[in-house]
């Protein structure tokens, strides 16, 4: 065997051994550092404190995902950047960050960014009030007084798919939860991730989440269009999902793991 062949074999072995880290030298803007754009606040997902555009303290599901992602990419440091307006994250122009986690749902129109594989389902959830039998499908749901927050996909779903006169529209999530708690609503359809964050620590007083309505939406990491990091991020996220890390993070910050909910209906 020639010297070159031996060297190639050694390199292959080394890369297989180091498969835990996706890439030892992930191509980021600053070597060894992942610059993450956030858009605080989003309770449960990212809250903290900021000085100018610098996030000096942060916690939440997306902050944890950013940190484990950096580790999997073999990056020692994470720099968190606050971008107040999420539309700016998706707009064109130079980006000061490597990745962005800000409850972003992939949209075709956003040509300035590329999206990773999803890290969290983001459809609608069905919450059943205390004492209400668990609805197992749309037919059972139609028999109940069902509520949603106005001008949300939940309200649209009620109008289009449930077609029942027994529906109420709340001003905001707080009112919706109050109605569910006090029995004015027997069930509610609301944004899955927001509900999962809000129900954490509520002690079941608002009822229980009995299923999901699959809208096909999911949160994904955004990267500047053409970013060489995309393949590595996708590989890392896939691995994080497979080894249960994403589930552990979800259960740390949310009342339940959105990925494990039974799908009651599909919105599309």
């Amino acid at each position: 065997m020639s010297r070159t062949a031996l060297l190639a074999a050694a390199l292959v072995t080394a890369s297989v051994t180091a498969s835990g880290a996706v890439a030892a030298t992930a191509p980021t803007r600053t070597a060894g550092e992942l610059a993450v754009a956030l858009s605080l606040p989003a309770p449960g997902f990212q809250v903290g404190s900021v000085r100018g555009a610098r996030v000096v303290y942060a916690r939440g599901l997306e902050v944890d995902v950013a940190r484990v992602l950096a580790r999997r990419l073999g990056l020692a440091r994470v720099r968190l950047i606050q971008v107040r307006d999420t539309t700016r994250l998706l707009a064109g122009g130079a980006k000061r960050w490597d990745v962005s986690l800000a409850q972003l749902v992939p949209v075709q129109k956003a040509r300035a960014v590329a999206f990773s594989v999803p890290y969290l389902p983001a459809g609608q959830a069905v919450l059943a009030a205390r004492g209400v039998p668990r609805p197992r499908g749309l037919t059972a749901l139609r028999r109940l007084v069902v509520c949603a927050v106005r001008r949300t996909p939940g309200a649209a779903f009620l109008a289009q798919r449930l077609g029942t006169s027994r529906r109420l529209v709340a001003r905001d999530l707080g009112e919706l939860l109050r109605w569910t708690q006090t029995g004015r609503c027997e069930a509610a359809v609301a944004d899955l991730p927001t509900l999962a964050a809000r129900l954490r620590g509520s002690g079941g007083r608002y009822g229980r989440v009995v299923g999901a309505i699959d809208t096909g939406d999911a949160f994904a990491v955004a990267l500047p269009a053409g970013s060489p990091l995309l393949a590595d991020v996708n590989r890392a996220l896939t691995r994080l999902r497979r080894d249960g890390t994403l589930r552990r993070i979800a259960l740390r910050w949310l009342a339940f793991d959105p990925a494990r909910l039974r799908v009651l209906a599909r919105a599309r």
Binding site: Q46, G48, S49, V56
Partner: protein, 338 residues
């Protein structure tokens, strides 16, 4: 460099505090009793000493008296700056450790009330780890300085929110005036009866805690569609039920000992807008008879205990609504315990 910056901040803090006119009078420190902010006196001069007294928490004697603090022990003060009567507190991340939303809001409330009560202070700005908190204290906007008088009302336990909750639970009718009035007191009494709390018609901290987690009263049994009324003799409460859902829970008073309202299943069989009681020689407005001479009717005095001669006294706020609900043939179930 970082160490130098911290030293600088401490120096700024010390200079600022020293420049502040010393207040020889006793300071006020705010703690919590059953969720409500309560002021206690401390011998503390100026902002720094008052803040120290707050962060030290209540004394053992105060704890024994039911005082507590929402602030976790050992919150570091990174810096304290007073400029133009505005106090900027920069605290360590420990001040925002994960806790229920209400506890997090109480932390800010305690800080702002305590520091804001120092003579001359016009506003308090709270920073965490040198940055403006975003979402760390749900429901409190810390992007601007806060004044003690302008603290946001607790979203769940403000009077308006509690009144709203009484409506949602069916103890108050919908669409009433926004103000808290005598009618609210009657609804509170009905809630206290349902929750088996002391019946005084006043919203005390125990009532508030129960109200925040309460769900709508449920009928003793589910029988299907239609209207009916359940009277609970032990709770002194009438439940107006439609399609197995309690629409309203109404404060009532049934027969006093010796004049007990009979338990059993009946139906409304006679209705009179103004009925005359022959044996007791009294007018009974909005009367709905359901067995013999026993009726639901309005009465001017509806105490929290059984006080009638067998009829079911209904308070004046709910009498006409009750009369309209109890149509001819409406089933009435009188239960000892529900």
């Amino acid at each position: 460099m970082r160490c130098m910056r911290r030293t600088l901040a401490v120096v700024v803090a010390l200079v600022s505090v020293a420049a502040w006119p010393a207040d020889a009078a006793a300071g006020k420190v705010w703690f919590l009793r059953q969720g409500d902010a309560v002021a206690v006196e401390r011998r503390a001069d100026g902002v720094a000493a008052t803040l120290r007294a707050l962060l030290a928490g209540p004394t053992a004697r105060e704890r024994a008296r039911g005082l507590s603090s929402a602030l976790p022990a050992g919150v570091p003060v990174r810096s304290l700056v007073i400029r133009r009567r505005l106090v900027t507190l920069d605290l360590g991340a420990r001040v925002a450790t994960v806790a229920p939303d209400r506890t997090l809001r109480s932390r800010v409330r305690q800080l702002v009330l305590t520091v804001g009560s120092v003579r001359g202070v016009t506003g308090v700005r709270v920073l965490v780890e040198g940055g403006v908190p975003l979402g760390l204290f749900p429901g409190v906007d810390l992007r601007r300085p806060l004044r003690p008088s302008a603290l946001p009302a607790e979203p769940e336990t403000g009077l308006g929110a509690l009144r709203q909750r009484l409506e949602d639970l069916g103890f108050l009718p919908r669409g009433g005036p926004d103000s808290v009035d005598e009618r609210t007191g009657v609804a509170v009494l009905a809630f206290e009866k349902w929750a088996r709390l002391p019946r005084d018609g006043r919203l005390d901290p125990r009532d508030i805690s129960a109200l925040v987690v309460a769900s709508r009263p449920r009928p003793s049994q589910l029988v299907g569609p239609g209207r009916r009324i359940e009277v609970s003799l032990d709770r002194q409460l009438a439940l107006l039920i439609e399609n197995d859902r309690v629409e309203r829970a109404v404060h009532i008073s049934t027969g006093a000992p010796g004049w007990s309202t009979p338990a059993g299943s009946f139906r409304v069989y006679r209705k009179e807008r103004l009925s005359w009681s022959v044996p007791f020689e009294v007018w009974m407005p909005w009367a709905s008879y359901f067995t013999g001479g026993i009726a639901f009717h309005e009465y001017s005095y509806v105490p929290a205990y059984p006080a009638s001669h067998g009829c079911v006294r209904v308070n004046s706020f709910d009498a006409t609504m009750f009369y309209d609900f109890a149509t001819y043939g409406t089933p009435v179930r009188v239960l000892w315990s529900a």
